[in-house]
């Protein structure tokens, strides 16, 4: 529960209305629309994400969560709309610039770079490594000391995520859960201000889930703002300080978890049946099937090796 981990709740006095203003927003979205053909996937009138807390983004299937996520991180472009990160416009931000600016994301289907070692995966996250410039790359003495510092930091993080014994293995040899951990650790190498996690617990075995949750809470305690997409209501209840509910592309409710569970709009959005519990087994299974189909489709249409 939020109260247990944060003694001073910065959102204590904030109304529980969709689009409400917050005292210190790190990310602000205004009038953002994305449609595919005739289908409006995202239509968010106004949303602010508070700095320094964990914000959970939930909603039923097809609510547009992942599309919204892609829009915010620059991986997709809205038809119209305006977004600010740290009070600076990111409307024309390409994803790599946003990442450099401190807005870093992970993916629902983990993207470990299988033929690079775990350590190389980590070092990739480091920003402003001079040796990543072509003309400096051929002069190793210009980047070697920096590389050593990065390596130390990476080892530190790997240790925290209990991956240090795998440092020299190919990332392709990691298990699914370890890949999730690696992806999170790698994102931290970017030293983000805001980290956006796309279903961080999806496909992770329950034993590891607690581990991952602890890491997410650690992030907040280090002062990093966290936004995550999740469909498991238990996870949301456990770690989010603030919950934003999307349905049919729009934000329909927000507030602390306790306020959301009783919200009529949210109950309606989930067809009035699962307002306080995890989704039904059938729905859960259907969702897993769809995720698998999406994963398979991505692989078969990938065009890349």
């Amino acid at each position: 529960m939020p109260g247990e981990t944060t003694t001073m709740d910065p959102l204590a006095g904030v109304e529980h209305d969709p689009g409400v203003a917050k005292p210190d927003p790190i990310l602000t979205v205004h009038d953002m629309v994305r449609s595919f053909g005739g289908l409006v996937a995202v239509n968010v009138a106004h949303l602010e994400i508070q700095r320094g807390i964990i914000t959970g983004l939930i909603g039923p299937n097809g609510a547009g969560k992942t599309t919204f996520f892609n829009l915010l991180t620059g991986f997709d472009a809205p038809n119209r709309g305006h977004a600010e990160f740290n009070r600076k416009s990111i409307d024309k931000g390409s994803p790599h610039r946003l990442a450099r600016g401190g807005l870093v994301r992970t993916f629902q289907l983990t993207k470990s770079l299988t033929k690079l070692s775990v350590m190389e995966n980590m070092k990739l996250g480091a920003q402003s490594q001079a040796g990543e410039k072509f003309y400096r790359a051929v002069l190793p003495f210009t980047w070697r000391s920096q590389e050593r510092a990065i390596e130390e930091r990476a080892l530190d993080l790997l240790h925290r995520f209990k991956l240090d014994h795998m440092a020299d293995e190919y990332a392709g040899t990691l298990s699914g859960g370890q890949r999730k951990l690696l992806e999170m650790a790698r994102a931290l190498m970017c030293e983000p201000e805001l980290i956006m996690l796309d279903e961080p617990m999806a496909g992770v075995n329950p034993a590891l889930t607690q581990d991952l949750l602890r890491h997410v809470k650690d992030l907040r305690d280090q002062g990093i703002s966290v936004v995550f997409v999740e469909h498991d209501m238990d996870v949301v209840r456990d770690i989010s300080d603030w919950v934003v509910v999307m349905a049919e592309g729009a934000v329909i409710a927000e507030g602390p978890h306790s306020a959301i569970t009783g919200n009529q709009a949210v109950i309606d959005a989930y067809l009035g049946s699962h307002h306080d519990a995890p989704l039904s087994i059938e729905e859960e299974e259907q969702r897993i099937a769809e995720d698998e189909a999406a994963a398979a489709a991505e692989q078969s249409k990938g065009g890349r090796r």
Binding site: P95, K111, L113, E120, F134, R304, R305
Partner: protein, 338 residues
């Protein structure tokens, strides 16, 4: 009575070895090193490497022919600039798209280069199908070897001009390998390899995938351009019909033979490839001459076509059965499938 003893095996093998270490092998090696940067490290599907080769050769040949008749250095620089320009033209529209678009565009663009070079419209500049033939002078002037002397290294014998091209060729090949080796151990190489593995992941970590792919395309293209220059110096000519589309897939075979994404693979692949092609062709010609193959089946000009069959079937079969090449490890390839 005909017998296999009539075949001069000794000289066939000698010739094959001479060719395996000769300048043509170096030419294939350099072009494949460029392709290795594209495909092996950056994952770019370049099916028109021959276009870069042609750009390098024409850039150099045109400079000497029309502009600076004595500056070898300037000619080489222009050759490089031609290759860079070609990379930009190809890369700008396609590097944001799926990998197969680059494949289609590169194969088409390489053909455009050849069509234009041989067209009557540009005949005044490129000299059409005859090509550029009067520019080798300043290069040969730099040769420390005597043109009419045969230089022997054990069983390998090369003429003076040939040896000059050979030294340049293998010199360039070694420098290119060294450059690629250095780059791929650097953070730059790490980013490029990451983009090959997953472009979105690299982007999400703040890397400008488009720009890195462009850099890789230019680097591999310029190396390909050098291959064109080496070949031009060896043959003292730049002719459009040398740069036919299948040549690109000779480079591909060289690369896959040695193992994609390995620094030395193009060198080893090129020596095996060119030695083997020479062996098969000279043997074929011998067999026709000695009557083992009746001319009704195949005459000596058709022997030249055998190489395309070898390249085509070897490409297909290697890709199916040994995609890691002769020396690559199966385990590393298997990581993709997980």
């Amino acid at each position: 009575m005909i017998s296999l003893a009539a075949i001069d095996w000794g000289s066939i093998i000698e010739l094959s070895l001479t060719q395996a270490f000769g300048v043509q092998a170096a030419f294939y090696a350099i072009a494949a090193i460029g392709l290795n940067v594209h495909f092996g490290y950056a994952g770019l599907l370049n099916f028109g490497q021959v276009g870069f080769v042609a750009m390098g050769a024409y850039g150099m040949g045109l400079t000497v022919t029309y502009w600076q008749q004595d500056s070898v250095l300037l000619a080489v620089i222009v050759g490089v600039l031609f290759s860079v320009a070609f990379a930009l033209i190809l890369g700008l529209p396609t590097l944001r798209l799926r990998a197969d678009y680059l494949a289609i565009v590169t194969i088409a663009a390489a053909e455009i280069v050849r069509f234009l070079a041989r067209s009557t419209a540009l005949r005044g500049i490129t000299r059409g199908a005859e090509g550029l033939n009067e520019w080798i002078g300043p290069f040969r002037a730099l040769s420390p070897f005597d043109a009419s002397t045969q230089y022997g290294f054990g069983p390998l014998v090369y003429r003076g001009n040939n040896l000059f091209a050979l030294v340049i060729g293998w010199g360039v090949a070694l420098l290119a390998v060294l450059l690629v080796w250095t780059l791929m151990r650097s953070p730059w190489g790490r980013v490029v390899k990451a983009i090959r593995e997953d472009e979105d992941a690299a982007t999400a970590l703040g890397k400008n995938a488009y720009w890195y792919k462009m850099q890789a395309l230019i680097l591999g293209g310029v190396i390909g351009g050098f291959a064109g220059m080496v070949n031009a110096i060896d043959n003292a000519t730049v002719q459009p019909d040398f740069f036919v589309a299948p040549l690109t897939f000779f480079f591909w075979l060289v690369l896959i033979l040695g193992g994609v994404g390995r620094v030395w693979s193009p060198i080893i692949g090129a020596m095996i490839f060119w030695g083997l092609i020479t062996f098969v062709q000279t043997l074929g010609i011998e067999l026709v001459r000695e009557g083992f193959i009746p001319t009704s089946v195949m005459d000596s000009t058709q022997i030249n076509q055998i190489r395309f069959w070898i390249v085509g079937s070897a490409l297909a079969l290697l890709m199916i059965f040994r995609p890691q090449g002769i020396f690559g490890s199966r385990e590393e390839m298997a990581l993709d499938a997980r």
